[in-house]
Amino acid sequence: MSQSYERGLVEDFGRWREFSAGMWAWIFHKFTGWVLIGYLFTHIAVLSTAISGASMYNQTLGGLEALLLVRILEVGLLAVAVFHILNGIRLLFVDLGVGLDAQDKSFYASLVITGAIAIASVPTFLTGAF
């Protein structure tokens, strides 16, 4: 496998249509993980305004929260976090060797629950945004 031979369409991600549950779970988990760590860095950066005093902090947070985009991103972040948590739980079970036969079902369940939670949270997140 020293080098994968350049076969155009044969390359990995050109094949996404044929990926199975476990593969999608892996990709989503990776993606959400990266988003979360990215967010963690940003988050701390934003919160750092606290060091420069209360008005700065309140202004920054308030200002950000006033933006519709930020609100929407927050819903996204919640979805990402929820999926990462749910799939993380799924993975922990896999690590324990529990329920491996249902690994695809538990992935679909994670997706559905994530979707449901994200939608349910929209009102909360958007209050006061308009």
């Binding site: 993980g33 760590i37 919160l47 750092s48 606290a50 209360a54 309140n58 976090a81 993380g88 909360t124």
Partner: protein, 124 residues
């Protein structure tokens, strides 16, 4: 095959730590989200409120632990992902160094912020 030099050379600990931190994070992350978006709405947050929460020792330590574990968990996850893609040799060492540096910065800055939120003057 690589010889085993000492028990510290065992590669499993990071894998294991990733799971342990994950288990911890499930709880804390969920708690964090609930508290700051559903109980207290994010748009209502002010430093005063934050300081009030942060002055509780339990909450404060939880948040610092949250920071440390999340950093480890996230950065270790990223590092793993890169090794999985075949990162090796000096490149791997360089990436590891950068990631460790970034984590240290993040944790240090995070703690400064936390202290500031606790009303301490950290602007040195």
């Amino acid at each position: 095959m690589a010889e085993r030099y000492s028990s510290f050379d065992r590669r499993g600990w990071r894998w294991f730590a990733q799971r342990v931190t994950a288990a911890f994070l499930i709880v804390v992350l969920a708690f964090h989200f609930m508290l700051l978006h559903f109980v207290n709405h994010a748009y209502e947050i002010t430093l005063a409120g934050t300081t009030a929460r942060m002055s509780q020792v339990g909450y404060f330590t939880t948040m610092v632990l949250f920071l440390v574990t999340a950093t480890f968990h996230g950065v270790n996850g990223v590092y793993n992902a890169l090794v999985n893609q075949g990162l090796d040799g000096t490149q791997k060492k360089a990436v590891a160094a950068v990631l460790v540096a970034a984590s240290v910065l993040l944790v240090v800055q995070g703690i400064r912020v936390a202290l500031a939120m606790n009303g301490m003057d950290v602007s040195f």
